[in-house]
Symmetry: C2
Amino acid sequence: MSGKRSPARRPTMKDIARHAGVSQSAVSFALNGRPGVSEDTRDRVRQVAEELGWRPSTAARALSGEGAATVGFVLARPADTLGVDSFFLQLVSGIQEVLAERHLGLLFQVVEDVADECAVYRRWWAEHRVDGVLVVDPRTDDPRPDLLDELGLPAVVIGGAPDERHPGLSTVWADDAGAMASVVDGLYALGHRRIVHIAGLPGLAHTERRIRTLRAEAGRRGLSEVRSVTTDYSDAEGAAVTRRVLEDPAPPTALIYDNDVMAVAGAAAAAELGFSVPADVSVVSWEDSALCRMVKPWLSALSRDSAEFGRTAARELTALVDGGSARAVRVPVPRLVERGSTGVARGV
Amino acid sequence: MSGKRSPARRPTMKDIARHAGVSQSAVSFALNGRPGVSEDTRDRVRQVAEELGWRPSTAARALSGEGAATVGFVLARPADTLGVDSFFLQLVSGIQEVLAERHLGLLFQVVEDVADECAVYRRWWAEHRVDGVLVVDPRTDDPRPDLLDELGLPAVVIGGAPDERHPGLSTVWADDAGAMASVVDGLYALGHRRIVHIAGLPGLAHTERRIRTLRAEAGRRGLSEVRSVTTDYSDAEGAAVTRRVLEDPAPPTALIYDNDVMAVAGAAAAAELGFSVPADVSVVSWEDSALCRMVKPWLSALSRDSAEFGRTAARELTALVDGGSARAVRVPVPRLVERGSTGVARGV
DNA sequence: CGGTGATCCTAATGCGCATTAGTCACTAAT
DNA sequence: ATTAGTGACTAATGCGCATTAGGATCACCG
């Protein structure tokens, strides 16, 4: 056996050129499908490259203007809010599927807030690190689209409604408004008149959209005891808000939670207060995951295909990076999966 | 207002040189703390760089031999197993904290299996994309250390015991054996004699380590009805195995689950079968998270600081990349947080 | 007053690749 | 038979940075 194995050296185009007995430019032409070499030579070069296990250095590629072959993804959430969120891992896993096919890397970063996120975009841009970014958690007053415009960095906004002020950004979104309307429809049909929506972070575009829709739907039906309460998405706040609203003299008969974590925590809190689900109070989760099937009764939930969401977003971004023009893509409205946590309102 | 804003151009060292009235090399010296420029010039250059918002192009840096300023992280898990895992997000968030300080990027990829993972390492190496990698889920018969040795790619193995055959790899691990011993100690003291360990994926180093330790501890105390069952970490298998073992004529009085997801699902399954927790059966989760406090009774759990785990691993990797030598670092043994799911064994 | 270092800079080179501008041999056309 | 044209290459250049090899200027010493 040999002793210490010397770390392998990366083969370069020069090595290929030497082995194949051609110039380095010929290798470049051959490998990139450019004209200027005969088919014979092209094949030979390809074969040598294969044998040597050559891969283009992304650094060199990026330097000669070809882009970094990488896209960025920033998650702006305080570290302690990261908890048990199934949505993002699913999303990322979908994103990866598409990127991997095209050998694009995913640069990932977790930061505290949107200001930091903007700083990251600036840095990535200046450092020539990414060809585009995926933006999540769009806000009602969001500095990111302007910044990305300014930097000329291709971007896809995930989960935000299209914004005509930023024609350069692609958008992938679900129609929360429609989903909210259908949930309210369903609850109304079951006799529910007092409904509380335990929403997510205030300022997020989809939070506000859901709140607005709920208010509109309530108004349309003349329901005065329908409202939204914003939270930080944590199980703690989900439970706390649940306790608070159920201790009201006229407690709601239905609760809509903006994510699975709060729904589960809220259902548990309700049970502790002596409220039976769904006899006393119905519960709907705006995110489906294994979590919803870990409690009894299983939670009715709005189910969407988060991985597919990610795939779609990644596809849009690659299209944009390749020079395509921005589009607004709608993914299917989440579907309500009825389980044991929703039922006829008490007293109907 | 101006019409279409032209996308900003990235400033380069040449721009700085021009503005500061010095040569490009002087700029390089100044900015990198190399000798060869006066303090005056250095300050002036720094200021101009600041004004222009200059950041070094990682591509160019990497090309001139400085490394890619990026580390890699591959998660080899079938997409559908990704579910509700809190450990990885916490871990990644800790990793990021350390990397962000040093302006290192994190290249992240999800793949199906270890073979794909190896392919990713090869590609990253050949493409010059990363300076080092973080390896998770070490296995008993693992091809990755050999590969990383061969490529000369600095790496930190997270969660594996040190392996003297790979002196080039750093290791960050917790003493699962000690933790397992203490859990068994505790259960034994409460009178438990029939214990089932619902373990994670077979082949993972820490799974096997826990199984071995459990067997050893049982042997030491002459307990014959103690065993481990491996699973895929999913809530479904956790529940299924729980049902199977509890339907035994002599069911266990204590269950140890290798993660929080299975523990919660298992506790629910036990309840459905009419087993009361902890009166009929005690439950311990080998991972603490919000999940453990979403069910009643709250689950006793082995709690560790996953973010700190990540920080430690990232620090070791940066040290390694900077030319330091490999080390084996032990993080604190997870601490058992006693909640409502563990109690005196039935009939004691 | 010529030499000897320091000090502070500039010029030039290379990293791995894409690309543009030649070069050369050979064929078709005038 | 000279020229224009074409196919198949090679040489040379630049991307943005680090680095090495050279100047130029000045102070100090014998």
